[in-house]
Amino acid sequence: MDFTYDDEQIALRDAVRGLLARKYSDFEQRRRQVAEDPGFDESLWGELAEMGVLGLPFSEDDGGMGAGPVEVAIVATELGRVIAPEPFLSSVVLAGGLVALAGTPEQRTEVLGSLASGERVLALAHLEPGDPVTATPSGDSWTLSGVKEPVVHGARADQVVVSATRPDGSLGLFLVEGDAATRAGYSSYDGGRAARISFEDTTAVALGDPETDGAPLLEQALAGARIAACHEMLGGMEVALSATTDYLKSRKQFGVTLNTFQALNFRAADMYVSLELARSTALWASMVHATGDAAATREAAARAGLHVGKAARHIGQDAIQLHGGIAMTAEYLVGNITARLTVLERFLGDGDHLSVLAAGIDDHAALDPIPEPTA
């Protein structure tokens, strides 16, 4: 049992932190970046590719770096600290993660290789505002019909991974070229981008074996992304708390700094408690994910999702309250972190973690986070 990063992991963290600091150490740069489409910096995306970050979780055979969920978590935390708008979570972890799970060897090499090199941005279209998207076989390929929304970074994506219902009612996974569908992109309240994507007999290719049930694979990819999102939230919460304590020490009211008032210090102390408990849970979830046990990972994702989500609401809300009105303004970092935390808790869908856990309370007498030896 060990919660510390090794030297290589610390080197990865420092490299990513250094690269992001060049771009986003001044929050004003992030504001300018999200003001214009595609909402992130394509050249920074290329630099992340050169550093190997975009291929981090994929096997070397697929053109990746062969790293694991812990390394993904390290990158996600750094992105979260500066609320970088680059689509690492949606494109690499989620859409790329699903391709890695479901794709044929040829698809993995082609799609993940170009994702890792920065040539191709992916998006996952799985949420549906209305009727399910349907998939119909058509010779060697398929056609899709229906609407997906919101698809994060859906308008910019070169290729979209789509979940759709096959004629037998089962869930299939498909690849669609981005410009083959009708896309309406828009900004979301965190400065990010999402889209409504309409398919009208749109040509699609089955991702992996067309007979395979895609539902568990989709759920597994979502679980991995939820855990990574928890780390991105952790990065945001760390900065929200440190910005708040700095503010309490410097801002004067009634002729004295705010940290003169115990009521405010106690609220900051409670934010620290929430942060450290959330950190423990998120780190544990990454370690569970790294074991490769799909069922355990889904449960860990629900547990971390519930706990980190609560912490994010607490820390985000109190960071704004303790700053006062300044945190409500668009040019100040803290309120924007809270907006981003709010998105991260939601965009992966199926976020009702407490219901999932409540349904399963009979499955165990008492929780034990340390796995029993398998031998």
């Binding site: 060990d2 919660f3 304590t245 210090n265 450290e276 849970t281 409540a358 929780l367």
Partner: protein, 386 residues
């Protein structure tokens, strides 16, 4: 980062589980698991079984019975003990005065007191708090005045937990009334059978007798019962209270309470609101347990991790919340707290009769050991720099 225990730690955990479930009388462990109170004799019997196996005082120096374990192994020892229903070794002896004597006592004091302290031949009481010295411990007023070779002690201690069982009491006394308040304090060991020592029970809201006042009237204490140097008491008190904060998160006992809630919930577990409440508490407890594991993994050289205040704060909140859950499940049956089931006096099950006294008793958890407000102050000052 690694999720699994090392092979060595896995073997250690197994060894602990084996010992606790076979070497401590089952009757005692069942009583603990059922949430019943133990007699003094049962607590003593259990600790002697642990001591015989070398497991009562692992945190002490090796020459006095300690084990040179890692912090993680100490944690596993602590958790497996709770999971098996073994009463924790009496904290006054094993985690409070024992380490202080081992660290600050003279060779003579060590030889005289450490073996009987480990074996619970002496039941220690803690004499720190006074009516005007709670969280502000340095406000204590009990005096010790030198008279020949002896000290003469006068004053009053309060909140002396289980003082009715105490053979000896370790006290903080004021030995220099002129000095700045933290600097004039010493630590004295006092035989509670000495003339002038009087223990008076304090009745609590849970109906039980757990704490006492201890009065000292011209009590003569031999000079050699001083621990360390004169006026060094504050240093020893900080050492002791620092130890107290380690292992303070009652993860094992809250786990037991949640398991009990599931067992006794019966048909009511069909209620999604109840299920959600249990699931939420379980998940909060998971975060606490994982944080405990993070803290023990990082506690180098025995110094408490700064985040150990988180464990005290959150641990007691969860303990209180779990007791509230059990009380809600007991409902009106909890009123039978004073009934005698052996005499046919009630149909209410034992857990339901214990629910309200436990709920009321546990209100103390956020007060003792440095109140939760003190913990928030520690976090704000020492961690956040506020």
């Amino acid at each position: 980062m690694r999720l699994e225990l090392s092979a060595e730690d896995q073997a250690f955990r197994k060894e602990m589980r084996e010992f606790f479930t076979t070497q401590v009388p089952e009757e005692i462990r069942t009583a603990v698991l059922d949430g019943r109170e133990l007699s003094k004799e049962q607590v003593v019997e259990s600790q002697r079984a642990l001591n015989a196996g070398g497991l009562a005082v692992p945190g002490w120096p090796v020459e006095w019975g300690g084990r040179d374990w890692s912090q993680l192994q100490r944690h596993l020892w602590h958790e497996e003990m709770q999971a098996a229903g073994v009463p924790l070794p009496l904290p006054f002896n094993t985690s409070m005065i024992g380490p202080v004597i081992a660290h600050f006592g003279s060779q003579e004091v060590k030889e005289r007191f450490l073996p009987p302290t480990a074996n619970l031949d002496i039941w220690w009481s803690q004499g720190f708090s006074e009516p005007d010295a709670g969280s502000d411990l340095a406000g204590l007023r009990t005096t010790a005045v030198r008279d020949g070779d002896d000290w003469v002690v006068n004053g009053q201690k309060t909140w002396t937990t289980l003082g009715q069982h105490g053979d000896w009491i370790f006290t903080l006394v004021r030995t220099d009334p002129e000095a700045k308040k933290q600097l004039g304090i010493s630590m004295l060991l006092i035989d509670m059978t000495s003339p002038g020592v009087e223990v008076r029970p304090i009745q609590l809201i849970d109906g039980g007798h757990e704490v006492n006042e201890v009065w000292f009237t011209d009590v003569r204490v031999p000079g050699e019962n001083l621990v360390g140097e004169v006026n060094q008491g504050w240093t020893m008190a900080k050492f002791l209270l620092g130890n107290e904060r380690v292992g303070v998160a009652p993860v094992g006992s809250v786990k037991r309470m949640l398991v009990r809630a599931k067992q006794v919930g019966g048909d009511r577990l069909a209620d999604p609101l109840l299920r959600a409440r249990i699931a939420d508490l379980e998940n909060e407890l998971l975060a606490l347990e994982l944080t405990t594991l993070r803290v023990v993994a990082h506690s180098a050289g025995g110094a408490p991790h700064p985040a150990s205040s988180v464990l005290k704060l959150r641990g007691t909140e969860l303990q209180q919340a779990a007791s509230e859950l059990l009380l809600d499940l007991a409902g009106p049956q909890s009123l039978a707290s004073g009934a005698d089931p052996d005499a046919g006096g009630t149909d209410a099950p034992g857990w339901a009769r214990r629910a309200a006294p436990t709920y009321l008793n546990l209100r103390k958890a956020s007060i003792y050991g440095g109140s939760n407000e003190i913990q928030r102050q520690i976090i704000a000052r020492t961690i956040l720099g506020l």
